[in-house]
């Protein structure tokens, strides 16, 4: 039952991600991308990560995609008149398929290490997923968390300068 559900959602994810690449109108691409994000949120729930699923929907499908669609509307981008030259499309597709082949090949050759941590499903249910992530974020990953705030500040300042100055 679970594998059938996985296959259906995976098929939807792959089809909508192909639509992102092939649609001529950027708005259709953006809406397909939202569909892909929702499918990925479903997988996060299947992998016992409900908080990451909620964050995926709120941050990616909510905030970032709204920003992208806003910019598409603001710039009034028309549908692409012509694609790139057929050489570029061919070379790009070959490179992408080669990357896929390589990944699947290494995946089929490799084997898992026996390493295991302490987190399991019972712990997620009893302690709570948010609490587990919060504890990791504020103990082991405190320095990266603080650096994240500097990164966001730099991004805000950069966006304001780009929007304000006459470039």
């Amino acid at each position: 039952m679970e594998s059938i559900f996985f296959l259906v959602v995976a098929a939807v994810a792959v089809i909508s991600s192909i639509l992102v690449v092939t649609c001529k109108n950027p708005i259709n691409s953006a809406l397909s991308l939202v569909m892909t994000f929702f499918c990925l949120a479903t997988f996060y729930v299947m992998l016992d990560a409900p908080f990451m699923a909620a964050t995926q929907v709120i941050v990616y499908a909510g905030a970032i995609m709204v920003l992208i669609i806003f910019v598409i509307m603001l710039l009034n981008v028309r549908a692409e008149s012509g694609k790139r030259g057929s050489h570029a499309v061919f070379a790009g597709s070959v490179l992408g398929l080669f990357a896929l082949f390589q990944t699947v090949w290494f995946l089929s050759k490799g084997s898992m290490t026996g390493a295991t941590g302490t987190m399991d499903k019972a712990q997620i249910i009893s302690v709570g997923h948010v609490e587990l992530i919060g504890k990791a974020l504020f103990t082991d990953f405190l320095l990266p968390f603080e650096i994240t705030s500097v990164l966001l500040l730099a991004a805000i300042v950069g966006a304001v300068i780009l929007a304000k100055k006459k470039i």
């Binding site: 679970e2 996985f6 995976a10 994810a13 991600s17 992102v20 690449v21 950027p26 691409s29 991308l33 892909t36 994000f37 990925l40 299947m46 992998l47 016992d48 990560a49 908080f51 990451m52 964050t55 995926q56 990616y60 970032i64 920003l67 992208i68 910019v71 598409i72 710039l75 692409e80 694609k83 790139r84 790009g92 597709s93 490179l95 992408g96 398929l97 896929l100 990944t103 699947v104 995946l107 898992m112 295991t116 941590g117 302490t118 987190m119 992530i133 990791a136 974020l137 082991d140 990266p144 994240t148 990164l151 966001l152 730099a154 991004a155 950069g158 966006a159 780009l162 929007a163 470039i167």
Partner: protein, 100 residues
Amino acid sequence: MLAIENYLILSAILFSIGTIGVLTRRNAIVIFMCIEMMLNAVNLTFIAFSRHLGNIDGQVFVFFVMTVAAAEAAVGLALMIAFFKNRESIDVEDINLMKL
């Protein structure tokens, strides 16, 4: 529970589709969206490994990837608007100021 290979292969497929999009499209916003898709494919790998290895660290990294994606969206879209104001286009083939 499904084997981790299913999630890894799905993630590889999504990443490759994103790569093809970045290499073949001309519209800068579509290229941007394909980059977001590649980041999401990597996030799926992180969470699958986190579940498989019983370690929460992968999910914390997903958190950081989302932060970087948000910062990238803010700056990248501001750059595109600035470019559009000058050139009336966001075709990547028009971005050639540095060309000799």
